[in-house]
Structure formats: structure tokens, C-alpha cells
Amino acid sequence: MSTDAATLSDGALVEARDVHFSFGTTTALRGASVQVKAGEILAVMGPSGSGKSTLLHCLAGILVPERGEIHFAGQRVDSLREAERSALRRDRFGFVFQFGQLVPELTAEENIALPLLLSGVRRAKALGEARVWFERLELDGLHDRRSGELSGGQAQRVALARGLVARPQVLFADEPTGALDSLTGEHVMNLLTSAAREQGTTVILVTHEPRVAAYADREVIVRDGLVSPLPSDRVNA
């Protein structure tokens, strides 16, 4: 994929321009615009039902906006076909969700290796790369555990490893600590941000917790379907 920066604002890697989206009669986004630079960690905040997860899904090519444009690395994402968007998500993006994202029948090791297997990497190589993440994310000894045998924090770290193992350009994290206690949540966020910075991965993080958002380089707030920068007093705080 070519990186035609000329189509993006100020060298942004991911951009949403005037995005509109509705669920039936409920409007979720009404002209949302946001830019994310390469290597940046952006926190998208907002109250429940404000449309922040919908914005993340639009940016990731999961949902197609009714109006507006989504760009990634110089390419128009919203006009791609479903198969092309799937390939984009598989090859260039990583995901971490709040819960329930691990395939319950697979071991932790196989869950982490899954994106590589989906991309056609050979089994032995995929599992080898997956194993590297166990030490990195303090998951030693959990290789053969299945999701039901992991604690919430362990499962979320496995999910994080799965999101990063294929070295994606962008990691989309939707309330990654929403199901964890505050201590475990902070631990996961530490690991997430340090691993992302280490790899140079751009992170778009949806959260409603200021403490989680504080790990980001920049924060925006979604309210009534529109994106606005966080007030300066909040930023300073």
C-alpha cells in the first residue's frame, strides 16, 4: 500500500473527516473529524453513548460511515470493499477489546499466534513469535492455559500481545481496562503503551476513564457525535 501523505492532513496516519453514522434512528456521529499521527497514542474520551466506540469502529474500517471519509496511510478506507477492509484490519491493524476476545478453545500461545496464522505465517514461526510476548508481558508459564483459566488481567495481556504480535501500524483499543480493577488496569496500560512505543505503533484508545487516558500523548473528547480537543484545564490536569 502506498503512503500518499498528500491526501492526509499534516502527516496524519489515520484521519476521519466529517463522519456521520446512525444506528437506525439514533445518530451516533454527526460530523466527527479527527487526525492521528504515526506513532502517536490518542485517547478518545466521552460519556457512555457519546459515539466514541462508533468512531473507533469507523476508523478501523469495521463500520462504513454514511457520510464523510476515513483515510489510512493515504488510502481512502471507507470506499474499500469488505474483503479489502478485512485484509487491512488483518495485516495493518491490531485490536484490543474490553473482554471476551480470546478464542476459548485455543491456548494463550495459540491465541497470540492467531493473527500471524491468519496472515499465512507458518505455524512453528507464528508460535515462536508468540512466545516472545510471554516474557515481555509477564505471562511466563501461561502458554498452555485457555481463556477460562486466565485471570482478567492475564487474559487482557494475552489480548494485548495478540493485538501487537503482527506488528500492526495501528492498535485500536476499545476500553481495554474496562473489565479490570484499577491496579491491574494500570499494569495493562503500562505494558500497552510501552510495547506500542517500542514498536512505533500508533494507538487509538477509547476510554471513559481519565486515569487511562492519561497514558496517551493526546486526548480528544466525543460528545453528541462530534470530536473536540480536551479543554486545556483537563489536559493540564
Partner: protein
């Protein structure tokens, strides 16, 4: 708590009602099939009971020939003779009666005995008589129709039965007449001793057929019902977690689950009874036993009704409680016991034991075809072995599934294979349960078809010579017996003229018993005039210059026989003069015809009127049909089991797959969000069902062929012949139907794995 559970069930919103309706519909289908199966088994018994009166006069029944002592009872004696007659290949039951007084016993289905010159007929027989020229049929039954035989005496709605009133003096001139003072109520399968030949189903055959049908059909039906009651289990468990959160105890949650399942199952059972009664008439018309049933025979006993009406909801309630034991429902959510104990190799023991038992009886234990063991012991021994193999397949199935899944997982290079294999290994019991019905269907089908194929192969060997003669030869065999009148049997000139004047009759041959004197080992034991043989091409021809020849009638070799076809170029000269030939006892009269129904039936009518015999004359085809009744039984058995169990098992498979999809809604949708192609998830679903299906189908097909070989060896002293095209078509159809059923659930995958499923709830 029960009241709360009922309120949650009925007032739990649209989702709760939809779940209730889904389970109820699935249970309705399962119960409908179960009731149809049970009612069909009852109907087989009732149909057999309708044959009971035809056992009258036979020592094995409760109405044997009356001796002078028994003749002193209040009833007047009745002269009674049962004979098989034929029309165009169809069997006609003919009973000749001559009453000795007003108190003679009256058979069921008629209000009084027909007097001389009268007859009672079944509705189908009445129609046949009306539609057929008298010379072809009606002339055999002189007299007028006095009435119709009621259902009580008819095995099937289309049975051809006639009760002919005769004068005692006339009837006693014929063979096989018995003096009775009561009418038998002994079913053919309960007849102990000498019984009416070819009437109803005998005990062993019936026991074997019914037992295999019961095992082959009921098991898939029960699995289907079980799968239906577990529908939406995952969703229900999440709801239970929420109920726990507000303070319900595990026991209270268990009560709610039990009530919900029982309510859905009860609704399904009620609807299932409705479904059964709606399809009862069409089912009755299917000739499972070779004859259709009266719809009223497809009935349920009080015990059947109680067992099903109470048992299914009870079983559903127990299953719901047991299912909850496999998960831990805490106020914070549902956690599964992720490491259930894997099945052990010892699960193979019953399967091996079943095959070993059959093998012992076939090769070591001296029972079966070449022994004097009672046929009842043979049936029980074989049945036990077959049921053990069936149970063994079901018990070994999870272990085989685990084995396959472990091998697949260790070698998987594609994510679909890996996920499917891990899923199978995670709960091989559940994975196998979904396909166990199909596995049993494959086993029973393979075993039945293997047996049938072999029997057909031997039967066709035995009757190759007769295949060309088919309907062209009408054979009236006397077997050396002389009529009750004491006169020697012979074909008079009048009879010969009457026969040869029938259009389509080519000639008449008298076949004499030559086994005394001129018979030599290895040579045919009958003799005939070459002049007569010359008029009947189907009989072959004599050596040039011979006046008489030693001949062997091409009657076939029975159901299974090592007798090979004998179709000589020319029959050997018997070296007898015509006078010497005619001095021999008459064995058989053969009438050569053009095979047309009119010629055959007119000839049969003439023979019946001119030379009354214990047995009606039969064409070669009819003799073979008679021999093949056992074969037909097995064929029907195989068809019933395969055609019924495959759709039932398919439904179970579809329900299990749909249930599994619903359980994995969130991980699958998240996988799709992260870029996993839908095609990959489809492959996961197909592999999860197809892999164990293929492996266990191969194992059950192998077990079926082994069981068939051991059956043939033990019961018939034969060797299994390779299955023919029909077998492969049936198995392939079954597997393709299963794959189609699996594929039918795939649209559900697209829907449940959409982006909305991944949204936080």
C-alpha cells in the same frame, strides 16, 4: 421460586418467548418422531396379532386340531383348511370352512360362517373379484359373496382374504383339512411348535428387526430431543448470572432452569402428540413390513403415553440441572469448567467386546446355521452382539473424536483447522453427541446393506436358471402326496385340453418322481416326457432321440443356498418308456405359458378346479418372492432405519451447530472485526462437524461390515459380499445431507458475527 421461574419463562420478554418457542418446536419434532416410531413398533405387533386367527388348526397355536376329547366341548366342530392362493404375484389367503352345527366357532371379522356356496371376502379381494374375469380368478371360488370380512381379520387394508363355505363332504375330499372347535388367538411370533407356514412374522425375525429398529431410531430421536432442550444454553446461563447477582442462591437458579426446561419440553410434548396424530394416516400407508397398516394400529398404549408425556419433561428438567453442574454460575458471570476429564482409551472396550462376541459365535461357538442351537438363542446372541457394538460405537465415539482432534491440532497449519481441532478436543463428548445419530445410522445401514447384498448375491446365483423362466412356468407341485380321496394324481385328458385351450398356454408337462430305482447320485431326480418338454421351451430340451428325460426343475435355491444354477444343454435320456414313466408317482405339473397374467391365472384356475392341491400352483417368480420374504424384511428394516434416522440425526446436528454458534457469538464476531475472513470461520464450523463425522462414519461403516460378516457367518454360513452401488449411494447421500445441514447453519454465522455482536453489552 417455581412461580418466579414461570413468570420469567412467560413474561421474560420477546427473547424468552422466542427461546421457549424454539425449544418447544424442536421437542415437538423429536416427540412427534418418537411417537411415530413407538406407534409403528406397536403397529407391527398389532398387525402380527391380526394374523392370529390364521394359525387355527396348527399345534403351535391355542386352537389346535380338536381331538375326540376336545370335541366334546360346547362348540360344534368346524372343518377348516388354510391355503395360499395367488393372483398376478399377490398372495391370497384362502380359508375353506364347513360347519358341523350352529355352535361352530366363527373367525373374527365376520358375524357368521358362510354356508356352502357362499363366501366372505376382504374389501380388496372383493374389488379384485369384481375387476377380474371369472375364468382368471372368480371360478376358483364357486358361490356368491355373502359379505365383507371386517378389519379384525385383516392384517392390512389391502389384504386379499377369502373365507369360502363348503359342504363337509366335498371339503374332506381334499388334503390339509383340520377339525377345530375354536379360533386361534396365538400371534405368529408366539406360536410354539408347528405353525401356519408363511403367516405373519415369526418370533426371531420380529425380535431382531424390532430391536435393531428401536436402537437405530430411538437413540437419534432422544439425542435430538436432548440437543433441543440445550438450545440457547449459553444465553440462559448469562441470565442466571444476573439473577445470582441480585441474590438468588445456586439452588434457586437450578430450580428456575429446571422449570424453564420442563415448561418448554411440556409444550413441545403436547405439540408433538398433535404432530403425531396429524401424520398418522400417511405413516400408516408406508409398507414397513411389506404391508401397510390400518391407521388405528398406529396407536399408543397408556404406558407409552405416560412414559413420553411425563418422561420427556422430566428428562429435560434433569438434563437442565445436570447441564448447570458443568458450569459455575457466580454473580459475576459464567465460568466453564475448562478442563473436563478427557475420554480414556478404555471406552473402546464395549465396541471390541461386541465384535468379539459376534466373532466368537461366528467362528468358535457352535451356534447358528450349522448347529442345532435353537433359533431363539441365535437371535438373542446376535442381537446382544449388535446392540453391544452400537453401544460401543456411542461410547467410543468421544475418544475417537479426541484422538482425531489431537492429531489435527498438532499438525494444523491453518487457523481454521487449529480452532476446529481445539474446539473438538475441548469437549469431545459434546462434539460427538451431535453426530452420534448419524454414526448409528451409518452402522445400521452398512450392516443391513451388507447382509442384503450378500443374500441377493447368493439368491441370484441360485436362481439364475429360473430368471429367464420367471412368469412363464406355472408349477403345481404335489411332493409325492396323494389326495385325501386316495386316487392317484394325474393329468386327465379333460384337464390337459382345458389347459392347452387357454390362449397363451404352450404346453403341459407331468414331472414324475424318479428318485426310486433309476436315480443316480449327481443326476436329476425327476423325469418327464420329451414330447411334453418340447412344448415348454423354458424347461429346456432333451437329448436327440430321447423319449423321456431326467429333469430338474429350475425352482431356485431359497433365500441363501449354495445350489448353483443348472441349465443343461440337454436333459439326459431317462431310458424309460412312456408307460414306465406314467407308472411313477406324479411329482409336479408344469404349465408353460407366455407369461401373461390372463394365461397364468386362467391356467391356475383350471388346475385349482381340476386337481385340488394343498398348495396353489405358483409361477417361478412367485416361488422366489415367497422365498425372499426374509430378504424383504431386512430391506424394509434398512430403509426404515436409514431413511428415518438420517433426517433425525441431521436435525440434531443442525441444532448442535446452531447452539455452538450462539455460544461463540462474541469471540467469532471479534475475530471477524480483527480481519479474520468469514470463509475462515465457515471452515471452522464445517471442520468441527465434518472431521469427527468422517472418521466415526468410517469406523461405524467398518464395524457395520464386520457385524454383517459375523451375522452371515453365524446365522447363514455365508461370506460377506462387497457392498454394491446402492450402499455407496446411501452413505454418500447421508454424508452429503449432513454437510448440507451444516452448510444451512452458515448464514447464521454471518449474522451472529456481525459488528453489533462485538459491542460491549
Amino acid at each position: 421460586m417455581i412461580r418466579l421461574a414461570l413468570r420469567l419463562t412467560f413474561a421474560g420478554g420477546r427473547e424468552a418467548l422466542t427461546r421457549l418457542a424454539l425449544i418447544a418446536i424442536a421437542v415437538m419434532v423429536g416427540v412427534g418422531l418418537l411417537l411415530a416410531t413407538v406407534a409403528t413398533l406397536n403397529a407391527v405387533q398389532k398387525q402380527n396379532a391380526r394374523y392370529a386367527w390364521l394359525e387355527t388348526g396348527y399345534p403351535g397355536s391355542n386352537a389346535p386340531v380338536a381331538t375326540s376329547t376336545t370335541g366334546t366341548t360346547a362348540a360344534d366342530p368346524l372343518w377348516w383348511r388354510l391355503r395360499a392362493d395367488y393372483f398376478d404375484g399377490a398372495l391370497i389367503g384362502r380359508i375353506d370352512v364347513a360347519t358341523r352345527g350352529p355352535k361352530s366357532p366363527v373367525p373374527p371379522g365376520i358375524s357368521k360362517l358362510p354356508g356352502p356356496g357362499e363366501f366372505y371376502v376382504s374389501p380388496a379381494m372383493a374389488k379384485l373379484l369384481r375387476d377380474t374375469p371369472a375364468a382368471e380368478l372368480g371360478d376358483r371360488y364357486p358361490g356368491v359373496e355373502a359379505g365383507t370380512i371386517g378389519e379384525a381379520a385383516l392384517p392390512a387394508p389391502d389384504s386379499l382374504v377369502i373365507i369360502v363355505g363348503r359342504r363337509a363332504a366335498d371339503l374332506l375330499q381334499e388334503n390339509g383339512v383340520r377339525r377345530v372347535t375354536s379360533i386361534s388367538t396365538t400371534k405368529p411370533n408366539k406360536c410354539n411348535g408347528e405353525c401356519a407356514p408363511g403367516v405373519g412374522n415369526n418370533g426371531n425375525g420380529l425380535t431382531l428387526i424390532l430391536s435393531v429398529v428401536v436402537a437405530g431410531l430411538l437413540f437419534p430421536v432422544l439425542i435430538f430431543i436432548g440437543a433441543a432442550t440445550r438450545l440457547s444454553a449459553a444465553r440462559r446461563e448469562q441470565r442466571f448470572a444476573a439473577i445470582r447477582l441480585v441474590g438468588a442462591t445456586p439452588r434457586q437458579v437450578s430450580v428456575i432452569a429446571t422449570v424453564e426446561s420442563a415448561v418448554a419440553a411440556t409444550a413441545g410434548v403436547v405439540a408433538g402428540f398433535g404432530l403425531f396424530y396429524a401424520v398418522r394416516v400417511p405413516i400408516a400407508s408406508i409398507p414397513f413390513t411389506g404391508d401397510p397398516f390400518f391407521p388405528s394400529d398406529l396407536s399408543l398404549s397408556l404406558m407409552n403415553v405416560l412414559l413420553i408425556a411425563l418422561g420427556i419433561p422430566l428428562a429435560a428438567a434433569v438434563a437442565a440441572r445436570l447441564a448447570l453442574r458443568r458450569v459455575s454460575i457466580s454473580p459475576l458471570g459464567v465460568s466453564r469448567r475448562v478442563t473436563p476429564r478427557p475420554p480414556q482409551p478404555r471406552r473402546l472396550i464395549p465396541l471390541i467386546a461386541g465384535i468379539a462376541e459376534l466373532g466368537y459365535f461366528a467362528y468358535v461357538g457352535n451356534i447358528g446355521a450349522k448347529s442345532h442351537t435353537s433359533s431363539n438363542t441365535e437371535a438373542v446372541a446376535y442381537l446382544l452382539g449388535v446392540l453391544l457394538v452400537m453401544a460401543g460405537l456411542v461410547i467410543a465415539g468421544p475418544w475417537l473424536t479426541l484422538l482425531v482432534s489431537r492429531i489435527s491440532a498438532s499438525r494444523a497449519t491453518r487457523p481454521a483447522t487449529l480452532i476446529a481441532a481445539r474446539r473438538l478436543a475441548d469437549n469431545p463428548h459434546a462434539s460427538f453427541r451431535a453426530i452420534s445419530g448419524l454414526v448409528l445410522a451409518v452402522f445400521v445401514g452398512t450392516c443391513s446393506i451388507g447382509i442384503i447384498t450378500t443374500i441377493v448375491a447368493y439368491d441370484s446365483n441360485a436362481s439364475t436358471a429360473s430368471s429367464s423362466s420367471g412368469d412363464a412356468l406355472l408349477v403345481d407341485s404335489f411332493g409325492g402326496q396323494q389326495p385325501a380321496s386316495g386316487n392317484n394324481v394325474s393329468v386327465s385328458t379333460t384337464t390337459r385340453v382345458a389347459l392347452t385351450s387357454i390362449p397363451g398356454v404352450t404346453g403341459v408337462a407331468s414331472i414324475y418322481d424318479a428318485s426310486g430305482g433309476i436315480y443316480q447320485q449327481g443326476r436329476p431326480g425327476q423325469a418327464a416326457s420329451c414330447a411334453e418338454i418340447a412344448h415348454i421351451p423354458a424347461l429346456g430340451h432333451c437329448e436327440p432321440g430321447a423319449a423321456t428325460a431326467l429333469i430338474s426343475l429350475p425352482l431356485g435355491g431359497g433365500v441363501v443356498s449354495h445350489q448353483t444354477a443348472r441349465h443343461p444343454l440337454a436333459w439326459l435320456d431317462a431310458g424309460l418308456t412312456t408307460a414306465q414313466l406314467q407308472a411313477l408317482p406324479l411329482d409336479t405339473i408344469v404349465v408353460g405359458t407366455d407369461g401373461s397374467t390372463a394365461a397364468v391365472e386362467r391356467a391356475r384356475t383350471v388346475l385349482d378346479l381340476h386337481i385340488p392341491n394343498d398348495y396353489a400352483a405358483q409361477t417361478i417368480s412367485e416361488i422366489r418372492t415367497s422365498d425372499a420374504r426374509l430378504l424383504d424384511g431386512y430391506r424394509q428394516l434398512a430403509n426404515v432405519v436409514i431413511l428415518t434416522s438420517l433426517p433425525i440425526a441431521g436435525c440434531s446436528l443442525a441444532v448442535s451447530i446452531a447452539g455452538g454458534l450462539a455460544e461463540r457469538k462474541r469471540p467469532f464476531s471479534l475475530l471477524r472485526l480483527t480481519g479474520a475472513p468469514l470463509a475462515m470461520l465457515r471452515r471452522v464450523i464445517m471442520l468441527e462437524a465434518a472431521a469427527p463425522l468422517a472418521v466415526t462414519a468410517v469406523v461405524s461403516a467398518g464395524a457395520g461390515l464386520v457385524a454383517a460378516q459375523l451375522f452371515l457367518r453365524a446365522q447363514l454360513a455365508e461370506t460377506l459380499q462387497p457392498p454394491r452401488l446402492q450402499y455407496y449411494v446411501v452413505v454418500l447421500t447421508g454424508l452429503l445431507a449432513s454437510l448440507a445441514i451444516i452448510a444451512s447453519t452458515l448464514p447464521l454465522l454471518r449474522r451472529i458475527s456481525g459488528p453489533e455482536a462485538a459491542r460491549n453489552e
